[in-house]
Symmetry: C2
Amino acid sequence: MNHAVKGFLAAGIAAGIKKNGQMDLGLLVSERPAVAAGMFTNNRVTAACVRLDRERLAASGTCRAIIVNSGNANCCTGDAGMNDAIAMAKAPAGDLGIDEEEVLVASTGVIGQKLPVEKVEAAVPALTRMLSPEDGLAGFARAIMTTDTVPKVVTRKGEIGGISYTITGIAKGAGMIRPDMATMLCFAATDIGIGRDDLRRIVAEANEKSFNRITIDGDTSTNDTLLVLANGMSGAKVRTDDDKITFSETLEAVLVALAKMCVRDGEGATKLVEISVVNAASHADARRIADTVANSNLVKTAFFGQDANWGRIFAAMGRAGVDFDPERVDLYFGDVLLVENGQYVGRGAENAATEVLKQPEFSVRIDLKAGVAEEIAWTCDFSVEYVKINADYRS
Amino acid sequence: MNHAVKGFLAAGIAAGIKKNGQMDLGLLVSERPAVAAGMFTNNRVTAACVRLDRERLAASGTCRAIIVNSGNANCCTGDAGMNDAIAMAKAPAGDLGIDEEEVLVASTGVIGQKLPVEKVEAAVPALTRMLSPEDGLAGFARAIMTTDTVPKVVTRKGEIGGISYTITGIAKGAGMIRPDMATMLCFAATDIGIGRDDLRRIVAEANEKSFNRITIDGDTSTNDTLLVLANGMSGAKVRTDDDKITFSETLEAVLVALAKMCVRDGEGATKLVEISVVNAASHADARRIADTVANSNLVKTAFFGQDANWGRIFAAMGRAGVDFDPERVDLYFGDVLLVENGQYVGRGAENAATEVLKQPEFSVRIDLKAGVAEEIAWTCDFSVEYVKINADYRS
């Protein structure tokens, strides 16, 4: 599939920030100033780049380039960290012939170590020479990976007034993920034309339905960033409410696909599980139960063990802080009803449920019979490999 | 050490509830009616035994015996489950010559399967014949274990008005534990004399300082129970406020020791870690940060990896929902200052901190410099073994 988006160029390179010599520096450039919207971590501890991007988006709302490193979070690094973030943004400005204020920055990696910004500066000339519309996006996607095992790129096309436009989203994120604001790094480029306020609202909503619905390990990064750039170069332009809905659905499809790719590639994950809570008294109730089940280590280790241990799901639901009647709850694995009105259906149902758990992707549906609200969370299983990856991460 | 408490007898036996033939039924008996206090899970989904005990404690507040099984949680089992809990309480009443209403019940094990109460009834005659003051407590402690690797018994003696009294506490619990009310099963027997209201208040406070300060995996059981029986047979009697303080300190020492034993024996745990938050603006802030750090999978896997990855601790603090200034925070591993005012101290400090992490027990101290409140949480590391234990639990 062709991921190219009109007027966007990208590249990735190994700048020597990662010890293992893998690609660790990416650059995404728009030929024209793009309207920009960003969502960032809710963590009280934020990386310098997050603070810098917030400032720059508040000041102008347009952007020409995003530079990303995946070897160092540049977080808990004090005033030097902010200076390094500014220097990192400045690095490509000269070669690109743009104002340094038009560059946004993202970083991910180890927290608390000084960013070797001189390595960024040294690599930028080669990086800008490599910029290209299609291969460049693939390189960029590789360059932002940390513990990810596969690059994550999703492209969708839409049409407004007979004119086609493209959205390509690129994400990374395999750990430190919970449904608590824009989790992980994600950059989306589109050639649609759209106003700044509309873009911001649509990005916030799409983020809520995608990255805010996933969890891998319940932790929240200090560096989470979602940036969307719209440069208008397709000629398609968002004018009417219908246009907004069309674009918003297309963007949501891109972000949901990327969010699910992140969970499927969660650290050590072998399964992607959709937790669906239906017929809740309120959306808040449904959300709280879905999130608590999706984050339970005991539920997630049972998924890893392919064990239809519904008791752990009930135990997790019970600590979600929601008032519900356990004796009305139905629980399904896939289409298999294993628990009806809070009671175990029987051995035959359990055997069928166990078959569902052997699939790489399946759903768990919890019917509260308390109202009409429903919510979804996507999670993965919790494997021996997760622990190994995270015990050894810095060594 | 002699764990005997005047007027208490106990025993444990294999009743065939556990598939592997290990001991799974315990009985604790007081020769005289004992004043009783109980704390139970906050989970919205509660086992039948928890509901029965709550009723019985509310009705009378005295107790002659506690019967416990560790093979089946008798939870999510509907009306049949409540009937089984009542039958389990009744089982030893005849042999002991006591009223069945004077018996409390606890269960732990798999959720959602019918309790084989006929196995309990069949084993009770042999169990009551085995009752003894000292060996019996050891048997009881073994009989209530699930994934625990060691029995957990703690005895402390105190003195009131020149008369010595004893408290022996017995606990089990190695998973589904987070600091959210009386977590796991714990039974404490004392020969002190004390009024019902005083005992209830003192037990609630001691629980708050012990079992509500520990976490293993952030999950909360549906069956958590702490029961304390005081039969007055030592002759020591709580009368004055000073007596209350003395007894409360002794009980707290027993429960804290048991709580730490539970964490040290946490599923797959290789380390006991004390998370201490000092100089917080409020107790609530201190508590929230200590709990969030103690429950973070990323922090706990780093402990397992013996990696002084303080960035993960900062990231966890940042999502605790507390307003604090990261750039004022000092962080110690043991006595080693690794982060000062939010900044990494350096390689020498890190090497020293890594040595601390190699110990089986150590502390992490977080100084917020925002006030004078402090709180502690005890946690363990998160190992490959935890996942293996919980992936395979029911198979």
